[in-house]
Amino acid sequence: KKETMEAQLDKTLDEIASRDGVTGVLVSDKNGLCLGSRGDAFEAAGSAQAAAHLHAVQTGAASLSPEDEMPIVAIQTTQANVLLYNNESYTVAVSQSKEQ
């Protein structure tokens, strides 16, 4: 059976989303376009919108210190904690519930 090109990505997203306390995970490419998402953490905004804005946050954070490596960004809201990780090709956002 042929594996689709996003099979590895799907598997990784499923694995992250299944962990305790994780309410959502989203991956966007370097142009702020959503490559995949799981969970309902980002559904209120919509995955496409969330991807664009999270990418903008990551880019903004990186511009504070351009000579440094890509920063890991932590966003705390009243409902969740969101961690952003970025490399040159993509941004990963993981949302955890506040109870964790």
Partner: protein, 138 residues
């Protein structure tokens, strides 16, 4: 003293709100530019010329010949800029943003386009355009 809100000020606010956006152009599908707003960061943006509107008009027309339905968006990646063009017949909206390090935020441009479509602004623009066409003043 309050200033009357205009399309210019409205679009200027959009450009100032979203980091990386450089210009917004409203044109018709015949290639005529109706409105042009640039970010104060780059008021003389070199990529903007009269061909932007007419090129999209042509691309839109050719895209329709693929018989895959009406063209909705066209996204263009250049070395220094990324251009997103929205078909809202009889008008076209062009948004231009930075594409530094090949990382221009196209997602934000598409979000802006979707918000514009959902808002009354585009329908007001289209109404105004249709009225001027009927009057023959345009």
């Amino acid at each position: 003293m309050t200033t009357t809100p205009t399309f210019d000020t409205f679009f200027q606010e959009i450009l100032s709100k979203f980091d990386g956006t450089l210009a917004l152009i409203v044109s018709d599908l015949q290639g005529e530019t109706l409105l042009k707003v640039t970010s104060p960061r780059e008021p003389e943006l070199g990529i903007i010329n009269s061909q932007i509107a007419s090129t999209f008009a042509m691309a839109n027309e050719q895209g329709n010949k693929l018989l895959l339905g009406q063209t909705k968006h066209v996204i263009l990646f250049y070395n220094k800029h990324v251009v997103c063009q929205l078909n809202c017949s009889p008008l076209a909206i062009t948004l231009i943003a930075d594409n530094k390090h090949d990382g221009g935020n196209v997602g934000i441009l598409l979000n802006i386009m979707n918000k514009l479509e959902e808002s009354n602004v585009l329908s007001c623009l289209v109404k105004a355009y249709n009225l001027t066409k009927e009057d023959g003043d345009f």
